[in-house]
């Protein structure tokens, strides 16, 4: 609180004053102190806000902006410090401050002071809001960009798969795009998931997408990755493509429904340190007779299906939570991490945390 700022009428300290030529009011103590009058303080606050807030302003720049003769860095330093402290609510409230608070109450009735105080508070709030907003923007953009990349990769892999399947048929080494001709031949393979195994980190982004993946556990096949046998190159798009433009932006959990979906799977969220470790997608070998040595292939991706969604989600949530909280903290319960996101995402506060 600005306990230095007292109108002369409320001054509890009796000090002889003298007014300088520059309009500054100094005491005539052996150590002259500057009296921060209402007008002076108002100029001070103006200057500070011009410079971008109390954290950005420095005594030197304030001095320059204020342009008041006789005002020294010393004055400004201490006043700025008090100003900064004063802007923080619930900072030490000692008796002195309370007294000042009452003084302030009186002052508040005066026209000039109230605007100043609320303005300062607003600035600080706005600063925080701005940062938060920007981080959210970045998060959102990252999400969209990753999606776009994924979509593109999807088309790349499909084309390549088709080409390769075509090779299989043509029994030649050249890579010619055979377009749709290759597709019917791979009809059998259409039952299998796409080659484009979604990026692990993206899996936790798509709430419902994950569940779809869970449903399709028996289908997707990555075995084709490893073998030279083209038969195993997977294709088809039976699995719901999480990249299909549904316009979802799951990073911002604005969809209550999706959250609900996650809830069931996320109940086992624990305090895993690194959720991605060991929690991968289970790909079972395709049903068809591949004729390849699947031994080396089936173990490509392993997972505990139930946890697949959770763990990745937890990672994702934590990533998001990290934005809200600059100090990295590994809260044992995901619920803790969920709440800031819920708040920011504009979700109802009283939402039942789906996590255990």
């Amino acid at each position: 609180m600005f306990h230095t700022k007292k109108p002369s009428t409320m001054n509890s300290h009796d000090r002889p004053m003298c007014v300088q030529d520059s309009g500054l009011v100094l005491t005539t103590d052996p150590k002259p102190r500057l009296r921060w009058t209402v007008e002076l303080h108002e100029r001070f606050v103006d200057a500070v806000s011009q410079l971008g807030g109390p954290d950005k302003a420095t005594p030197k720049t304030i001095m320059r902006v204020m342009g008041v003769k006789g005002l020294t860095l010393y004055h400004l330093k201490s006043h700025l410090q008090k100003f900064r402290l004063g802007k923080q609510p619930h900072k030490e409230f000692n008796d002195h401050s309370i007294k000042d608070a009452s003084a302030l109450d009186l002052q508040r009735s005066a026209a000039s002071s109230s605007g100043m105080i609320s303005r300062s508070m607003n600035e600080m709030q706005m600063e925080v809001q701005r940062r938060l907003h920007e981080q959210l923007e970045v998060q959102r953009h990252l999400q969209l960009r990753t999606e776009a990349q994924g979509k593109y990769i999807q088309s790349l892999l499909e084309k390549a798969c088709q080409t390769l399947a075509g090779d299989q048929d043509l029994a030649s080494g050249s890579y010619k795009g055979i377009g749709n001709q290759g597709v019917p031949d791979m009809g059998a393979m259409k039952d299998f998931g796409p080659l484009n195994f979604p990026p692990f980190q993206d899996l936790n982004i798509y709430g419902s997408g994950q569940l779809d993946l869970l449903h399709n556990m028996d289908r997707p096949s990555l075995d084709g990755f490893m073998s030279n046998n083209h038969d195993d190159i997977c294709l088809g798009k039976k699995r719901t493509n999480p990249y299909a433009g549904s316009g979802k932006s799951p990073l911002i959990w604005s969809d209550d429904l999706r959250l609900q979906d996650l809830g069931s799977g996320l109940s086992c969220l624990g305090s895993q340190d690194d959720p991605l470790k060991g929690d991968q997608i289970q790909i079972e070998p395709p049903l068809m007779d591949s004729g390849t040595d699947l031994d080396s292939l089936s173990g490509l991706y392993e997972t505990k299906p139930v946890h697949q969604g959770d763990a990745l989600d937890e990672k994702k949530l934590e990533a998001s939570a990290k934005i809200e909280r600059p100090s990295p903290r590994r809260a044992p319960l995901a619920a803790d991490r969920m709440s800031p996101m819920i708040n920011t995402g504009g979700m109802p506060q009283g939402r039942n945390s789906p996590f255990g």
């Binding site: 969209l144 776009a148 979509k151 084309k159 690194d274 470790k277 991706y301």
Partner: protein
């Protein structure tokens, strides 16, 4: 497996080794083999026959293998000179199970370092190198074992290539014929030549998924580009190595979804294409172009695609570029995985010097971060390279510890060739070119462009999606560096043409 490679410690070892120029009394027994029983580790190899006239080396190797202080069972095994299978079988098993991974890994590092040192020595040492490499091959495998074992396999391979290539790195010599490593199945100059297309595809996708390396470079560059061309109506990007064009999908998306500002600008991409037989990417540049055109159409991005051929020696000629007035010119140079551009440093150099004449609005440079060069000797740079890729392997493993096969594939398709290539470069350059591309850009006069808060924030977010061990540092106002634990791996830097045309 975390390998703590203390450079100072190794230098000490190294110096003590090099002081042994003559042989100690040759001994055919394994008395010096303190508990490690080198012979028992490789029962198949008749060491006696192999060493033959090189008895003197065995001691050296044995002394290197001497980890007596660290071994639990030092006196268990009696020296067995006959390499009999019966006793050594059980001993071998016991030995292996009781050796810790770290111990073995350390041993591998010692051997690798010794081999590297031997390679830079005289003829006599080259024989030693050969011998060491044989030993190494017995211990390592590119598909199984720990990170260090797999990594050492590729380093062994690379050293082997250096040994036989005898300094001709960029030649088209077919080295495959001379390779005795059972897993060395691909031609060094064209790593993908012998890789099956499906493998390359799979490895590519896996690399994207398992690590932030590719995305980090793309997204950082794209964000900088977006900021630099915020008010432009036409953008022209010259991409040094477009590969599949994945980077541009997200850029296009960003351009299309700009809320405020001018309407979606027209984007033109010129991709440099290489002649020659070696195909670097999964498809051709034309295919990439078609794909990008289709994608742009699908999201409503005005787009056109061009190709610009490099010379036969992959030199870039700015004059071959078609420029349009009023375009904001951006040069994009991605050199990190999975790009294979490490093979042609002169080409990259020509690209950057060409950029100088074109005065682009922005140059985005993403490259592997090299450690401090030190005295520039081959061995120290070799060790630095070992450290570098070891961190890489560790990062992949930390994120996906169960997916050994997947990682092995990525290692085989991308990392192995890269290791071989970068070692070859180090071997030939040997201290001549120690600086990074970013440093060279600065030296030539390009000005740094500050990495924005949003860009930095994006990078941190991206890494947060992966493993905790990744971190991003802002080493300079225009440079973000991606690192794994304490090792810096990738550097993304942003530059612009100097405002003074006389520079």
């Amino acid at each position: 497996m975390a390998m703590a490679i203390d450079g100072a410690q190794f230098e000490l070892d190294f110096s003590s080794y090099s002081s042994i120029t003559t042989t100690t009394t040759p001994t055919t027994s394994t008395e010096n083999d303190h508990g490690c029983n080198w012979n028992d580790w490789s029962p198949m190899v008749d060491w006696e026959a192999l060493s033959g006239a090189q008895d003197d080396f065995q001691d050296l190797i044995d002394s290197m293998m001497d980890d007596g202080a660290l071994m639990n069972q030092s006196n268990r095994l009696t020296p067995d000179t006959s390499n009999s299978m019966s006793t050594s079988d059980t001993l071998l098993v016991d030995e292996e199970t009781s050796c810790s991974d770290d111990l073995k890994g350390l041993r591998l590092v010692h051997l690798l370092m010794a081999a590297a040192e031997a390679l830079t020595g005289l003829n006599k040492n080259r024989d030693l190198a050969r011998v060491i490499l044989v030993r190494l091959k017995e211990l390592v495998s590119p598909n199984d074992g720990t990170n260090m074992e797999r990594l050492a396999a590729y380093f062994t391979d690379a050293l082997q290539g250096l040994l036989e290539g005898s300094g001709s790195i960029h030649s088209n010599k077919h080295l495959s014929a001379t390779n005795n490593g059972p897993y060395h199945h691909h031609h060094r100059d064209d790593p993908q030549h012998h890789h099956h297309q499906s493998d390359v595809l799979a490895a590519f996708q896996l690399l994207q998924d398992m690590s932030p390396y590719v995305k980090f470079g793309h997204f950082t560059a794209n964000q900088a580009i977006l900021e630099a061309v915020a008010d432009d109506r036409r953008i022209h990007i010259v991409d040094y190595d477009i590969m599949e064009g994945i980077q541009w999908a997200s850029l296009m998306q960003a351009l299309v979804s700009r809320k405020d500002g001018p309407p979606t600008p027209h984007l033109r991409i010129t991709a440099l294409s290489r002649g020659g037989s070696g195909r670097r990417s999964i498809g051709t540049v034309q295919e990439t172009g078609r794909r990008l055109v289709a994608f742009a159409a699908s999201i409503g991005q005005p787009f056109s695609f061009h190709q610009c051929r490099l010379d036969s020696d992959e030199t870039f000629r700015p004059s071959a570029l078609k420029l349009v007035r009023g375009e904001a010119l951006v040069m994009n140079c991605m050199l990190q995985l999975p790009h294979f551009s490490y093979r042609a440093p002169d080409s990259v150099a020509s690209f950057l010097s060409g950029a100088k004449t074109l005065n682009p609005r922005l140059i985005a440079m993403v490259e592997e971060e090299v450690g401090p060069i030190g005295d520039g000797g081959f061995v120290s740079r070799f060790m630095d390279s070992l450290h570098h890729y070891s961190a890489f392997y560790d990062s992949l493993e930390a994120g996906f510890p169960m997916q050994g096969r997947a990682r092995a594939l990525v290692e085989r398709v991308f990392l192995g060739p890269r290791i071989a290539g970068s070692l070859a470069r180090i071997y030939s350059a040997r201290g001549e070119e120690g600086s990074s591309w970013g440093e060279r850009l600065a030296a030539v006069g390009f000005q740094p462009i500050k990495i924005s808060f949003a860009n930095h924030c994006q990078a941190k977010l991206l890494l947060g999606l992966f493993n905790d061990g990744y971190r991003v540092e802002e080493l300079a106002s225009n440079r973000l560096v991606l690192g794994w634990k304490s090792r810096r791996l990738l550097s993304a830097s942003i530059w612009t043409s100097p405002s003074d045309p006389d520079l």
